[in-house]
Assembly symmetry: C2
Homo-oligomer: 264 residues x 2
């Protein structure tokens, strides 16, 4: 069984990809809705929260983990890999590889968008460099998570458009070949991001991570032939999760349970 | 010693008032920066967080507590009062009394602005009714906390102006006599709120709570004659707290310590 977690709803965009890529795989999703957002917190807090999240998933019997959260993937992946004896895939490597490919095999330009903690970590930049890509610009977008969580995702909504303008207009004329959506909330803002970067290819870090996970699971003959069942766990109210989850998952969500994450 | 707490930085607007009202009182402030925001979480989670916050303050030897958080005051005050043997003042009663006075001693109209959890609780409405005020409109403003925390507080910043327009324009023509700022973050947005409600008096729930606390302390001869020293504790990084705190406190902040709030 695959374990997937995120600070909240964003990771559901990766679950949507997982359900397409591996329709028979069983999975458990955990959204830390009692402590979202992660991206504006300190590295120590992000690591401590991510450890609890994975301890919960391990207690459910998962045999692989997808850290479907850009902030965790860029600040806590080494900590997690040193702590748990199952393969753990983050959202950095796959997206960096794909973006470098799109950017003329590394000779072009890549823009990385992420939470403040993600951008501060420099993790996407390092991964892009490793893939031969040197021309990298990074922009922290602290308001994108609150916008996405509160339903501001369209160019017709002035707050979404104007906050995106503030982040993206200063870098738009560099015309990046690829834009890494370094937070799994950001695919919801694709329309707004493309409005300012119409000629750039958007790379969903969650979707690329699913593709990496799929290759890994197939080559190790694991996890992919179940009934395609998903269970959802959250650390805060089921009601508000269920109300918004379908926008991220692009499907209805059922079987949601509350977990006391502090006890893990 | 007075204990004051909030989900994050907002309660510092009440500390600013406290320092004016009781310049010799010693106080301990706790900001739950590792778990902010509270206002979009469930009642159960808000109560459990507020209990931990107060357990920490009690461990510091406080003899009175100001719940300088609208969400806690409207969802967890009874729980706190039943759990701790010191007087606990919230931000509802004082603001309701003051707003009712301004609104023609209850015959006028009052607008309550708060987090989703605060508005859902109906607590300000009940307190206003008790003060004879029946004509009450309530509006949940889920984006005001992220705006204030991220520095969007001026009418010259389009995201602040447009989100305020969305919340306030539909009720502006009711011309309320008083507007209760039911969250201690909202005084930072006073300029933006007054832009849409130029003829309404803004009532700061934090400032009114301090006034209520002061009366209570003076009448019970407690807590007010120390050296006027403040200590600040947060559950997440000191650095980011210190960087933003002065905007809320209107003074520099020193002596900040990190606390592991989950151990309380």
């Amino acid at each position: 069984m695959i374990g997937i977690f995120d600070s909240g709803l964003g990771g559901l965009t990766a679950v949507a990809e997982l359900r397409k890529a591996l329709p028979n795989a069983d999975y458990v999703y955990f959204g830390d809705t009692a402590r979202i957002p992660y991206g504006t917190r300190s590295v120590e807090t992000i690591r401590s929260y991510a450890l609890q999240d994975c301890r919960f998933l391990m207690s459910m019997g998962v045999t692989s983990i997808l850290a479907a959260c850009g902030t965790v993937s860029t600040n806590a992946l080494d900590t997690l890999r040193a702590s748990f004896n199952v393969p753990i895939v983050g959202v950095v490597e796959g997206a960096a590889k794909k973006a470098a490919q799109i950017a003329k095999n590394g000779r072009g330009k890549v823009l990385v968008l992420g939470t403040p903690a993600t951008i501060k970590s420099g993790a996407f930049e390092k991964a892009l460099n490793k893939n031969g890509c040197r021309d990298v610009i990074s922009v922290a977008c602290p308001m994108f998570v609150p916008l996405a969580e509160n339903g501001y995702t369209s160019v017709n909504q002035i707050p979404a458009l104007e906050i995106a303008r503030e982040y993206l207009a200063p870098v738009a004329d560099t015309c990046p070949d690829a834009v890494i959506l370094g937070c799994t909330h950001y695919p919801l803002l694709s329309e707004v991001i493309s409005y300012f970067l119409p000629h750039s290819a958007l790379v969903s870090s969650g979707a690329e991570a699913v593709s990496e996970l799929k290759d890994m699971l197939i080559s190790s003959h694991r996890d992919i032939n179940g009934g395609g069942k998903g269970k959802y766990y959250v650390s805060d109210g089921v009601e508000s999760f269920s109300k918004s989850a379908h926008r991220f998952l692009q499907a209805p969500v059922s079987d949601v349970t509350v977990v006391d994450i502090n006890s893990y």
